[in-house]
């Protein structure tokens, strides 16, 4: 199974350990993984700002990089959703359509495609899991609290396989962290307040880590935690699932 690893630009630059964990995890699970070196971005920062019409070049580049893989896997629900909903290519629309169908967020790839059971991972810590909106409400990685429907959670299904982990219940289980792309600077006051409130919910449960499947939300909350000089850390789900007896690499 040939997997193309799509690493969001800010993860590549600021959180390489998340990309490394994703890669190692997929390899451990028997995938043949390649990271196409000329990938850039899904184009979401532009599109969510109203400039989807400027994303053609970026999209073409994405298609050039990821055409031909059996699956495209990305450790971010938000970027995955954007590609799924908005990837088009004038040059090669057929390839774009195929990519839209074959792209998966990492944890849903593990539960739905690889159908992972009995992961060998250990993470003896108290963890709060942040449901990122695009992964949850967009990709349906877990049930949404607004709907009258059977609850489920793909990330939790995986985390429950991790030895020693203690997952806490949050007061508001799927409230947005307020990152929202350019929203975080354009609407600084509300964005930061949302982030602070989300962090406070986790802190109330006395977590050691805030985990999530989307580094952008975690980056936001990390910014707030560090400003508050909190010892609590953020961690991507890939790092937890890839962790062995050792502490995760910082």
């Amino acid at each position: 199974m040939k997997v193309g690893l799509f690493i969001p630009c800010y993860v590549d630059q600021f959180y390489p350990q998340v990309a490394i964990a994703s890669l190692q995890l997929l390899e451990k699970l028997g995938c043949e993984v390649e990271f196409p070196m000329k990938q850039t971005c899904c184009g979401q920062p532009m599109a969510n700002s109203g400039y989807e019409h400027l994303t053609a070049g970026c999209n073409d580049n994405f298609v050039d990089n990821f055409a031909g893989f059996d699956y495209i896997v990305c450790p971010s629900g938000s970027c995955t959703l954007h590609v799924k909903d908005h990837l088009h290519s004038h040059k090669n629309e057929q390839a774009a359509v195929t990519i839209r169908k074959r792209i998966y967020e990492l944890s849903e790839f593990l539960t739905d495609v690889l159908q992972v059971k009995g992961l060998q991972a250990r993470f003896p810590h108290k963890v709060g899991f942040h449901q990122s909106c695009h992964g949850q409400r967009g990709l349906h990685m877990s049930q949404m609290s607004e709907l009258v429907a059977e609850p489920f959670s793909k990330p939790e299904q995986l985390l429950n396989q991790v030895e020693g982990i203690e997952l806490v219940a949050l007061t508001r289980k799927d409230e947005c962290c307020g990152f929202g792309g350019t929203f975080c600077v354009a609407e600084e006051a509300v964005s930061a307040k949302m982030g602070k409130d989300r962090v406070a919910d986790h802190l109330k449960q006395e977590v050691e880590y805030i985990a999530g499947a989307d580094m952008s939300c975690l980056m936001h909350m990390e910014g707030i935690l560090r400003r508050q000089k909190s010892p609590v850390k953020v961690i991507h789900i890939a790092e937890i699932l890839n962790s062995t007896l050792h502490e995760p690499t910082a």
């Binding site: 630009c9 590549d12 630059q13 600021f14 959180y15 390489p16 350990q17 990309a19 490394i20 890669l23 990271f35 070196m37 000329k38 850039t40 971005c41 920062p45 969510n48 700002s49 109203g50 400039y51 989807e52 019409h53 400027l54 994303t55 053609a56 070049g57 970026c58 580049n61 909106c133 409400r137 949404m144 607004e146 709907l147 009258v148 429907a149 508001r172 409230e175 947005c176 307020g178 929202g180 350019t182 929203f183 975080c184 600077v185 354009a186 609407e187 600084e188 006051a189 509300v190 930061a192 307040k193 949302m194 982030g195 602070k196 936001h220 990390e222 910014g223 707030i224 560090r226 400003r227």
Partner: protein
């Protein structure tokens, strides 16, 4: 109303100056969201109901002109006078004409977001007509000379102590008394006199039934009924999208409306008006005010399905932390942000950006409006039509080029990191809004790309 207005971000920042108040506002609305959750979980068929309501509304939009004619004919048969108003101004003039015919200078009004949209009160005031808003929350904001901040809970931003002060000033209640029970009673006594003496009452309309020509008004307070049944003339103002095809469809909508709005199983009163009472005049004003044009916009017409339950506001994490007035529009919150640009794209260009696109609004919406997708689509329209800041457009153009050329990308990204790592003062300063309340991520020694090059590409 025509003064230049501040944008959402700025107004929201002001609202956030008092963090305790933001917490209180957020908790209050979240509590209503929880009440909504609790009651909808009692109906296993909830999602099926939403889907049905959505489909009925699609049918309405596709037959609106026919249903309006059917409604008009049936209402006329029932002895009701039907008026058509192309816009707010015409609506206001019709109301004024009816008041003049009665020779009165006073009127009671129950909750109607449409009259807010038309700025009816300001218009009538200028003509020397005194309008008394009779919904308690609306009365409070009216006394305070403010617009409502929420379509269902007009004074949700007011604390009881402040209302106590307001009532002390206007209704003569004892200073310092902030007991909700006491204040409500004081308002009841004062407004009772208005109900007993006003000859004209205006109400909104929640649903109008094409099949029968009747319309339904839902209140908890009973103010619409007190006004209407004691008046010589009852004027009901409705947006043309309030129609539903058949009476039995009320079964679907009345089940959804209040559960979504406040978590109640139904409002205290669901009043079905079909004929004037003997000796009374009943008028219905069908108001367009941009709706017929809006209907032609394929991507945005769904917002006309709205039944004004307010659930999208209660669930919206941005609304809860920015307050209704930050939306500078009669209807605030997520639904306001997709309706407002239809009226004035330039003035309301900021609203579709006042969202993280989290999608909670679309999930609670009882008629399944794709609210957050419409916010996204409005952004595209606004950017293309030049209603976004020039600097942003320029930056986006640079980004577009960079991201389509992988070579430039690696360099630009690296540069970004070098700057971040070595000259934190450059980025971590007050000019960067991120840094105001958040630290920047720490740049690692090497990017994933570099690591991959070394470890997998050998």
């Amino acid at each position: 109303m025509n003064q230049p207005h501040k944008e959402h971000a700025e107004l929201a920042e002001k609202f956030n100056a008092d963090e305790d108040r933001v917490n209180w506002h957020d908790e209050t609305l979240w509590w209503i969201r929880q009440k909504r959750d609790k009651i909808v979980w009692q109906l296993p068929e909830w999602e099926q109901l939403r889907e049905t309501a959505s489909q009925i509304k699609h049918n309405v939009l596709s037959h609106l002109s026919e249903y309006l004619l059917e409604f008009e004919a049936n209402a006329q048969k029932n002895g009701v006078t039907v008026h058509w108003a192309a816009n707010g101004e015409e609506h206001n003039k019709i109301v004024y004409k009816l008041l003049k015919e009665q020779g009165v200078t006073q009127m009671v009004k129950s909750k109607s977001m449409l009259t807010e949209e038309c700025h009816l009160n300001e218009f009538l005031e200028k003509q020397g007509i005194e309008v008394v808003d009779t919904d308690l929350g609306e009365r409070i904001v009216q006394l305070a000379k403010e617009p409502p901040s929420h379509i269902v809970l007009p004074c949700i931003h007011w604390k009881k102590e402040e209302i106590g002060e307001l009532f002390h000033k206007f209704l003569g209640t004892p200073e310092g008394n902030a007991d909700p029970q006491f204040l409500t009673h004081a308002a009841r006594l004062a407004l009772r006199q208005d109900f007993l003496t006003r000859k004209v009452a205006l109400t909104g309309v929640n649903f109008a039934v094409a099949e029968t020509g009747e319309f339904v008004v839902c209140t908890n307070e009973g103010n619409a009924d007190m006004g209407a049944h004691l008046s010589n003339v009852h004027i009901a103002s409705m947006g043309i999208e309030k129609l539903i095809p058949k009476r039995k469809h009320l079964g679907v909508f009345l089940r959804l409306l209040t559960r979504s709005a406040t978590g109640q199983p139904i409002t205290t009163y669901s009043s079905h008006f079909s004929k004037p009472r003997p000796g009374q005049q009943m008028h219905i004003i069908l108001v367009d005010n941009g709706r017929s044009v809006h209907l032609g916009k394929e991507e945005f017409r769904n917002s006309l399905k709205c039944i004004r339950c307010g659930a999208c506001m209660n669930t919206c994490p941005v609304y809860r932390r920015s307050g209704g007035h930050s939306y500078h529009n009669a209807v605030a919150g997520p639904i306001g942000s997709i309706l407002a640009p239809n009226f004035d794209m330039r003035k309301n260009a900021d609203l579709p950006f006042a969202s993280t696109l989290c999608g909670s609004c679309s999930n609670v919406c009882p008629v399944k409006i794709d609210i957050h997708d419409q916010l996204y689509k409005w952004r595209q329209v606004l950017a293309k039509e030049g209603h976004t800041p020039k600097a942003k457009t320029a930056a986006m153009k640079v980004m577009a080029v960079t991201l389509s050329k992988p070579g430039i990308f690696t360099v630009a990204g690296k540069m970004g990191r070098i700057v971040m790592r070595n000259v934190p003062g450059l980025v971590n300063n007050k000019l960067n809004p991120w840094f105001k309340q958040r630290e920047m991520p720490e740049a690692p020694k090497e990017s994933f790309r570099e690591w991959y090059q070394k470890n997998r590409k050998k």
